[in-house]
Symmetry: C2
Subunit: 388 residues, 2 copies
């Protein structure tokens, strides 16, 4: 049979990169291409204890249908937590629990964008989010990244020129793939421009808790006096990605529409996972756990950065997150380097995977330091050094 | 702020019914409006044992990222199970694990339909699926239900007349909301018509295992010689809906596109839930468990049907599933009856909630017999009798 697929899904086919990434899951390969938490970063004892208790004392709550907005106690607890910790959320905001933060991007696009509408995003940016946007047939307009976050002058030009812009997508903290943190001044400017041009902001903050040095900067959501910022948070990096628990904090009318969208998608997020996160937030020392994993990742980041410090690779040491963005000298071709690395059993991601438009000029690779063991980090860095 | 939402989401607002349904979640109300499994139908001991073992022996597998297609051993096990039990699935088919079966409807629509395309479905039909289709801006064309399933002559006319039909959506077993089971002859005819008019079939079978009398009939998927049937299965009704584990069995190119769609949606289904289902299928007597819950639901169905047998409500005793569809005599207005029932503390769903088009003539209510306790069943039936 000849299958005819929707135009929006046919548009979603960066196949060359997908082929390269497939090679990165070969057994025996050093995983600098992934974005997984380190296995030792999971609070396994706590999860075992909480799960046993929940399934013993409240099995029906874990197994029965739940409401689409999410488990009410968890929603209240996360709202209180982000208000206390990040100063975000007003009485005009609501919160929905999602099946991972990726679903926030999915639902935001679904409820806000018609096909052909425009989303402005950083370039390069997280390939997962870009593909989610593309899967709704929207136009993406990329704004170049600078050392302190997106080029806000280019953002203003884009807001002036691009038709039907619905929102600005940004990862202000330890951006994926560049590791860059947006300055406080630029965060303010992004909000002011959104206000001036009457668009929304989708602030994606999956790595915010993973800061290894420097002081936290205010979320764009913390400036949100008129209800134009959708904030996406996640438990994937501090607790477990396999649980698929994230959330959106946004103005009530937006959350109401996202709830209708989620009902039509997966009805609700796995109840066991929601109850488990709720108990963990309530009864465990989350701050101490985050400190512990930050220590693990700081050491891994330093192993990688120190090992590559005196090479031809140019990089900014990320103040947090999971990724190191290495620009290659002109004489080294990104795709060729990636293939040679994979042949030498080190998986890296070519920077072009994160390009908003195919013509974006990128000659870089993204390295991840959270997934490999310390031994793999040392060994992988050594191999990359021989290839440069 | 004035929020502008996408056209497809704005189209999705059957608000009168949603208001009625809200009233059904009041405390103290007898739940004939829901569709939840009975709490005593959960294999709680098995789940406790499996979860404890998994989190002790394989915590990282439960907590780390997984692949979008689903946990490989589970995919293989479900493929083998449906082939042995239902005779469906060929070497040209693949299987994807989804976050509940609703996500199958979501992904099928996403990958197959452009806005404005047509889906043919039974009317009345499951409101959840209808809303999922609507959320993609597709046109729905309803084919009336008869006592032995959809009117296949009307189906043929629709296939002749409707433009851009992408697939036929059907729930052949114990349909929601009517409880009707499609005859073997009509199943064959639906497939033959799909072949003749070159469209796909989306066969939704969430209740198939819950048969209380009569012999199982062949799935439409079992006729699928040329790869045009997408089969949606679920563990919600036989294990736990709160886990959100379903699956699609479909031709490999369709599953490949659905995988790209799911990656852009929720990345993958909660790993703990996938591993738990896999262990349950492998180590427990699932057939015996299904027998046990069928006994529970047979008794509940009979309580409800016997209690309403000599009233003015007209119904066909469903051979399985969770729902009883009661047609009201002309002198009783459905909406008025629903409101009076809710006022008398019995929640029922007005049949119009399941209409494909607002003008579909329906004067019926849907009653659910799996959620209420036996005491609530007796009491609720008594109250309804006084209202008729």
């Amino acid at each position: 049979m000849n299958y005819i697929f929707s135009d929006k899904m046919n548009a979603l086919a960066p196949s060359a990169i997908r082929e390269i990434l497939k090679a990165t899951s070969q057994p025996g390969i050093i995983p600098f291409a992934a974005g997984n938490p380190a296995p030792e970063a999971f609070p396994t004892d706590a999860i075992q204890e909480i799960s046993a208790r929940l399934l013993r004392d409240r099995p029906v709550d874990c197994l029965q249908y739940g409401i689409t907005e999410g488990f009410s106690p968890l929603r209240g607890r996360v709202k209180a937590d982000v208000r206390a910790r990040l100063g975000i959320g007003t009485d005009a905001d609501e919160l929905i629990i999602t099946s991972g933060a990726m679903q926030v991007m999915d639902l935001a696009t679904k409820v806000l964008c018609n096909e052909g509408d425009t989303i402005i995003c950083e370039t390069p940016s997280f390939i997962g989010s870009l593909n989610t946007f593309r899967s709704y047939g929207v136009r993406l307009h990329g704004v170049p990244m600078q050392h302190d976050g997106m080029d806000t002058d280019a953002l203003e030009q884009a807001l002036q020129r691009e038709p039907n812009v619905r929102f600005i997508y940004t990862i202000p903290n330890f951006q994926n793939p560049t590791g860059i943190t947006m300055s406080a001044a630029k965060r303010r400017r992004v909000y002011d421009l959104a206000q001036q041009y009457n668009v929304l902001v989708l602030e994606d903050n999956p790595y915010g808790e993973l800061r290894y040095n420097g002081e936290p900067l205010p979320c764009i959501k913390s400036f949100d006096e008129d209800g134009r910022v959708i904030y996406a948070g996640s438990f994937s990096k501090i607790l477990s990605p396999g649980m698929r628990v994230g959330y959106a904090l946004a103005p009530q009318p937006v959350i109401a529409k996202m709830t209708v969208g989620k009902q039509a998608g997966d009805v609700h997020t796995t109840m066991w996972a929601q109850l488990l996160v709720d108990e963990w937030l309530q009864h465990y020392d989350v701050a101490a756990h985050v400190c512990k994993i930050c220590d693990i990742y700081t050491a891994k980041r330093d192993l990688m950065c120190n090992g590559l410090a005196d090479t031809a690779l140019r990089f900014q040491v990320p103040a947090g997150g999971l990724f190191l963005w290495c620009e290659l000298p002109l004489e080294i071709d990104m795709i060729d380097f990636t293939k040679r690395a994979i042949a030498a059993k080190v998986a890296v991601v070519p920077g072009s995977a994160f390009a908003v438009q195919p013509e974006d000029k990128i000659n870089a690779v993204r390295l991840n330091f959270s997934t490999p063991t310390d031994e793999q980090l040392v060994q992988g860095v050594e191999i990359l050094r021989t290839l440069i």
